[in-house]
């Protein structure tokens, strides 16, 4: 793997905690890689294996669920 590998990461985030944290990061002008794509869920319990697989199918290198 070359050193310029820039992984595409999909984050499934709970609206009330992890997503709010990402929002706060924005308000605080903190940087995070643009290749992290956030999908807001009303609860991380909504995350399903089919969502994770769909992300991989569409080219994600990694997927994480935060909540």
């Amino acid at each position: 793997m070359s050193n310029d590998f820039d992984p595409k990461i999909v984050a499934f985030c709970c609206k009330y905690c992890a997503y709010t944290a990402a929002d706060l990061a924005g308000s605080m002008r903190l940087d995070y890689p643009p290749t992290v794509r956030i999908v807001q869920l009303l609860c991380s319990g909504r995350a399903d294996v089919l969502h994770l697989l769909k992300a991989f199918e569409n080219g994600a290198d990694a997927v994480f669920v935060a909540g």
Partner: protein, 222 residues
């Protein structure tokens, strides 16, 4: 319910390799409950197959559907158009479903995505155990609700054998000795004298030894 396990992805991949248009059919009854071949499992397998398709250029076109039961004609027949369009059908039902879809649409090949394993129950989340062998002559009244055919490794009618060990079976420490369970139930229910009752040998013709079985109710036949 009928309990099944999904075949390894490598086996499924090999079966599908010669084909292009794949129709995946899930079953919404037993194998949904044991989480082997319901709508969710069809989605997961389809996703895995699509990823294999992308990585290995298989040129697969995958269609997913799940019907209520694959062991009844009325649920299978509405799939006629989808069957016509497919090169191959991958069934995620038990062996009954695979065979009955072939009987309804004999011009198609239907491949099994599952290994059908046993008649069982959900003992805890994610854990299923065998309870019935479908032997054709129930003796649960003689053993107080613990089946010696399905749950004794030797299928003994008059047990236990010498391999019983502190309530476990000699075949595996994971297995309860069925006759230990039967004995304890008889004792707990004040019916220990039943242990002395000899269960007579039976004919196994009602089981698979008599060939495939059939049940007919003349009053219901048309």
């Amino acid at each position: 319910m009928i309990v099944a396990d999904r075949k390894p992805i490598e086996d499924i991949k090999e079966m599908l390799t010669p084909y292009k248009k794949i129709l995946m059919v899930g079953c919404g009854t037993c194998v949904s409950v044991c989480m082997a071949g319901g709508e969710k499992e069809v989605g997961v397998l389809a996703s895995e197959l699509r990823m294999i398709d992308k990585m290995e250029n298989k040129n697969w076109e995958i269609t997913e559907t799940t019907i209520q039961r694959q062991c009844e004609r009325e649920y299978i027949e509405p799939l006629e158009e989808k069957f016509k369009e497919a090169d191959i059908v991958l069934s995620m039902a038990c062996g009954v479903g695979v065979q009955y879809m072939v009987e309804v649409f004999p011009e198609k090949i239907v491949l099994p995505a599952l290994n059908t394993t046993f008649y069982g129950t959900t003992v805890s989340e994610g854990e299923w155990e065998e309870r019935c062998a479908g032997c054709g002559e129930c003796v649960l009244h003689l053993t107080l609700g613990v089946c010696p055919v399905a749950r004794c490794s030797k299928g003994l009618y008059n047990g236990p054998c010498g391999g019983t060990d502190m309530g476990k079976c000699e075949v595996s420490k994971e297995l309860d000795c069925a006759w230990y369970l039967i004995h304890n139930r008889m004792k707990d229910l004040g019916k220990i004298e039943m242990m002395g009752t000899f269960i007579k040998p039976r004919s196994w013709k009602q089981s698979l030894n008599g060939g495939p079985r059939k049940r007919v109710r003349e009053d219901l036949k048309k």
